[in-house]
């Protein structure tokens, strides 16, 4: 399973890549694998204010439509419009081309509530048992 070292993770299987005050957000390799073929993605509006752990997007696969929760609080800067026509990018490239959105996060302290790659690895292995 692919869990890049440089990212932060949530228990709901979202990842965040921090670049200064900006966070790129997506769902993990584990999540895309569990969901199966992704067929549709619903993204938030640019400028929308998100709260940590609150609803921000829906990812729909052949099996289920799942809500995605914001890993951090902040304002949506951009969304990955390519997903609207090619939702399978999430399956193919969960951490790069399949990102969902970028946001300007507002509270640095919220990062401490997220897991690093090692903790997430342990967490996911725990789920498998």
């Amino acid at each position: 399973m692919n869990i890049p070292k440089s990212l932060l993770y949530t228990k709901d299987h979202e990842w965040a890549r921090i670049e200064g005050k900006i966070a790129y957000v997506g769902i993990t390799d584990y999540a895309q694998h569990a969901l199966g073929d992704i067929t549709f993605v619903q993204l938030p509006k640019i400028g929308e204010e998100l709260k940590q752990a609150s609803f921000c997007a829906t990812v729909e696969s052949v099996k289920a439509a799942s809500d995605v929760y914001a890993p951090l609080s902040g304002k949506v800067l951009s969304v990955n419009a390519q997903l609207l026509t090619n939702p399978e990018l999430i399956n193919q490239s969960a951490y790069e081309k399949g990102y969902l959105l970028s946001m300007e996060f507002s509270l640095d302290a919220e990062k401490t509530k997220l897991m690093d790659a090692v903790s997430y690895q342990v967490y996911v292995e725990g789920l498998a048992k």
Binding site: F40, Q42, E60, K63, A64, A65, D67
Partner: protein, 443 residues
Amino acid sequence: MNYIPHTPEDIRQMLSVIGVQSIDELFKDIPLSLRAKSFNLPEAESEFEVTRLLTKLAAKNATGLVNFVGAGFYDHFIPAAVDALVNRSEFYTAYTPYQPECSQGWLQAIYEYQSIICELTGLDVSNASLYDGGTALFEAMMMALRHTGRKKIILDSGVSLIYRTMLYTYTSNLAIEFVEIPVVHGQSCREELFKYLDDKTAAVIFQNPNFFGAVDDYTDMVERVHKFGALAIASVYPVSLGMLKSPGEMGFDIATGEGQSLGIPLSFGGPYLGFMAVKKELIRQMPGRIVGATVDSDGKRGFVLTLQTREQHIRRDKATSNICSNEALCALRAAVFVSLLGKPGLSELSEHNYQKAEFAKEELARISGVQIKRSAPTFNEFTVLLPQPADLVVQRMIEKGFACGFPLGRFYKNMDNYLLIAVTEKRTKEEIRSLAHSLEAVL
């Protein structure tokens, strides 16, 4: 006759497996004070006795009246072939099959129904049906609230009061702002709509023909609604779509309606049929089931329930709606009815309705003191101003053998002398002339 399928031995075995002595013991957690002491039921009767009782009760219905009542539910002819086909045992269930893909015939029938609704409404996607016109309109409104994330709904007061009441009842615990815009000279008032329309509006809801029977071209209003990022919803009368401009042609985002007029008999409370069609971009907000066509692994055409990921059994509390079934048997009646008529047949049916209503207007206009409201074009229903309260006139007309219309004072203030008259293809010229003569006599 015992209607309980389990034998005493079955029951004994089941109870012993779960370690309980008697069926009563299963209810021991419910305090005695909350348990029903008696259901106050009459003594059991034989099949013959029950038939006799029900026949006697049924005879109280006034079924012999010549019917000019519409108000949302219409007395159309139903060809015998509808019952013959729909009552086939392969079809005769009120439900969507619960192992749907095993029932390819049923899915195909629903797919045909959906295709018919799309053609009639001029929109892209139809669901497999909803309970009735009112619940369909409610679901359409909820779609608009979800889609826009807004809280304000503008309701044209030409929408049936039954539907408006349903919208209010369903949403009484939600923070939704409703604005009702008045009907002026029978039609939607543009100025009033434009006054209240803003970027907080989730949807504007119209009915065509409206409750007074008036037909309108809503294209200009729909354009305006879209400028504010709101959705336009139309509740329509399907038989009228054989000749009127469709909701799709007017630019509406969602069309719903009561499908009773498509081969479903009039009855007090239903079962009726709600239909809904939407533009493609709203498909994921649409409630209920959708049947899709696909090909199997051998490349053969087949049918499946599609987009189920939005539904209750998968999404639980986050489902788009708690509708998890459809009105399958009534939808099938509609599909058979429209298929029997075909496109030219449906146009002809619409034309007959329109012409007969126009004929009735002429006949009634000759009665002194009766005024036909002509400010707006109508389809098969129109408003008449009487010199006396319509409720009284309706009572007197029943004695003459006519259900002569719907007194508008029951739904609208200051309209006690107004009568709403519907004329379907079933009404003969003779019956229409006779209606006029009798009305003249009772006034």
